[in-house]
Amino acid sequence: MRITELFDNGEFVVTAEVGPPKGIHLEHLVEEAKTYLSGITAVNVTDNQSSVMRTSTLATCVAMKNAGLTPIYQTTCRDRNRLALQSDLLGAAAMGIENILCLTGDHTRLGDHPGAKPVFDLDSVSLLYAASELEKGRDLAGIELVGEPPKFAKGAVVSPISDSVDAQLAKMERKVMAGADYFQTQAVFEPEKFIKFMEAAKQFGKPVQLGVIIPKSVGMCKFMNNNVAGVHVPDEMLDELRADKEKTKAGITGIEIAARIIRECKPYCQGVHIMALGWESKVPALLEMAGL
C-alpha cells in the first residue's frame, strides 16, 4: 500500500519511526513496533540516523513488512552514490516496499565514524528526481529498465519553524518539482508558526504531515534548542515541563503538550509523523489524547 493512496482518499495519515539497532537482532524492534505502532498507518525506518552506523534500513524494512507493518524506507545521500541509491530503490520496490522518504542526510562528521567519506553524490532533490525517473522506466543515465517500472510514494522533509521560512519554501518547491508526493516536517512546538507556514505551503498542493516529538524533559528540549536545526521549544513549554517533575518524568506532561499541538494543527495538515525517540510505548496514549 502506498500512503499516497490514503492522502488521495482524504485520510489523516499517522506515521511514526523506528531506528534499526547496531546489531543483527531485529526481533525486539519489530516486537515493539507491533505492540505500540500497529494502530498506525506506516512506520519510517531511519537510515544510519545522525550518521551513526546501524543495521541496513532495507533489511529492517523487510523485517517490518514480514511482521505485517507498512515500512517507509528512509534513504539518505550520505553513504551511497547514485548507483547504490538507485539500486536500493529498485531493491525496495522488488521487496514490495513502495513508500520512501528521500533525505540529504547529516554529514559523516557528526556521527560515530567521523573519518568516513561523505558521499553526497546526489542530494534530497536529485534523489527524488532519480526515483521519478525510475518510475518512468529509466535510470539517471537515461538507460531503460527491464520490465515494469517501480511505483513509489515519494516523501520528503521540510522544516516549517526554521530561521528562514522563505528559503524552506523555495527548497520545498524544488522537491515538488523533482517529484515529491508528500512531506513530513521537522518537529513542531509552535502551532501558530506551523499554521502560518501551511498557509504558504498550500500552494504546492502536496499533503504535509506535522512532525511531533513528545518532550521528555527540560534537558532534552534545551538540547534540541541548542543543537537541532529547525527545532524550537518555547519557554512557556519549558515552564510547563518544570512545573510537576513527577508528572513530566512519567511522560504525562509531554503527552499533554504533544496532543495539544496535534489538535491545534490538525485542521491545517494532512497527517502526523511521530518521532517517539525511544518512547514508542507512549504513542498509543498520545494518539488517544489527540483524538486520533
Partner: protein, 204 residues
C-alpha cells in the same frame, strides 16, 4: 593548471538581461583561457548594442586591486544591469562579492588539470568542477561554500545560519539564498534539478 572553457553560446546568451559590462581576466599563466572564442562572442554582443564596456585585465581574484581597476569604468559599470565575467571560478566569485547589488554571471566553466594551481588569494575557492554553478547561485560557489557541496539548495542542517558541520562557518546556501534575494534573482532556484557530472575531472 586549470582550464577555463566558454559555456556554450546558448547558455551565455540566456544569461544576459538588459545591458552588460564584460570583464576578461587574462591573469595567471596557470590558466588556459579561450581568448579567441571569447573575443568573437563579445564582438557579437557588442554589435547587438547592449554592451556598456569591456575591461580586459589580470588577477581579478585579488580584491585589493579591483577598485583601482574598475575606476576608469565606473560609468560603464553603473550603466550595466549585469556583469559578465570571463575568468576562472575564483575570479567570478571575487567580482560577485565586490559588487554586492549587481548580478554577476560566469561565462566560463573551470576544469582542473594536474599541476601547479597558481597563486590566488584564499577568500574564495574553486574546485574546478567543470560545470560552473555560479550563475544559479548568485556568484557564491556551492561546492566550496557548502560542506556537502550541494547543488540543489540548503540541507536541513543549518542552525541560526551556521553550517551543521562547522558552527563557525556560515551556511553556504544561506549566503546563496540571501545573495539571490538581494539581487532579485530568487527565480534561479527554480532551475531544473542539478545532477553533477564527475566525469569532467581528469584526476579522479
Amino acid at each position: 593548471m586549470l582550464i577555463t572553457e566558454l559555456k556554450n553560446k546558448e547558455t551565455i546568451l540566456s544569461l544576459i538581461t538588459g545591458k552588460v559590462f564584460i570583464i576578461n581576466c587574462h591573469g595567471c599563466k596557470e590558466i588556459r583561457f579561450p581568448e579567441h572564442e571569447a573575443e568573437a562572442l563579445q564582438k557579437e554582443l557588442q554589435e547587438s548594442g547592449n554592451v556598456t564596456g569591456i575591461l580586459t585585465t589580470d588577477y581579478i581574484c585579488n580584491p585589493d586591486y579591483l577598485k583601482q581597476r574598475f575606476a576608469k569604468h565606473e560609468a560603464e559599470i553603473e550603466a550595466a544591469d549585469m556583469i559578465l565575467v570571463f575568468s576562472c571560478g575564483v575570479g567570478v566569485q571575487t567580482v560577485a562579492a565586490y559588487f554586492e547589488n549587481k548580478r554577476v554571471c560566469a561565462a566560463c566553466d573551470t576544469y582542473a588539470l594536474p599541476g601547479y594551481q597558481g597563486v590566488t588569494p584564499l577568500e574564495h575557492d574553486c574546485d574546478q568542477c567543470g560545470e560552473c554553478y555560479l550563475n544559479i547561485t548568485g556568484g557564491i560557489c556551492p561546492l566550496t561554500a557548502c560542506s556537502k557541496s550541494l547543488v540543489n539548495g540548503q540541507c536541513g542542517g543549518a542552525k541560526n545560519g551556521m553550517c551543521e558541520v562547522d558552527p563557525n562557518m556560515e551556511c553556504g546556501w544561506e549566503r546563496i539564498y540571501q545573495r539571490l534575494k538581494k539581487v532579485g534573482r530568487l527565480d534561479a532556484l527554480k532551475c531544473p534539478v542539478q545532477v553533477r557530472n564527475y566525469a569532467t575531472d581528469p584526476d579522479k
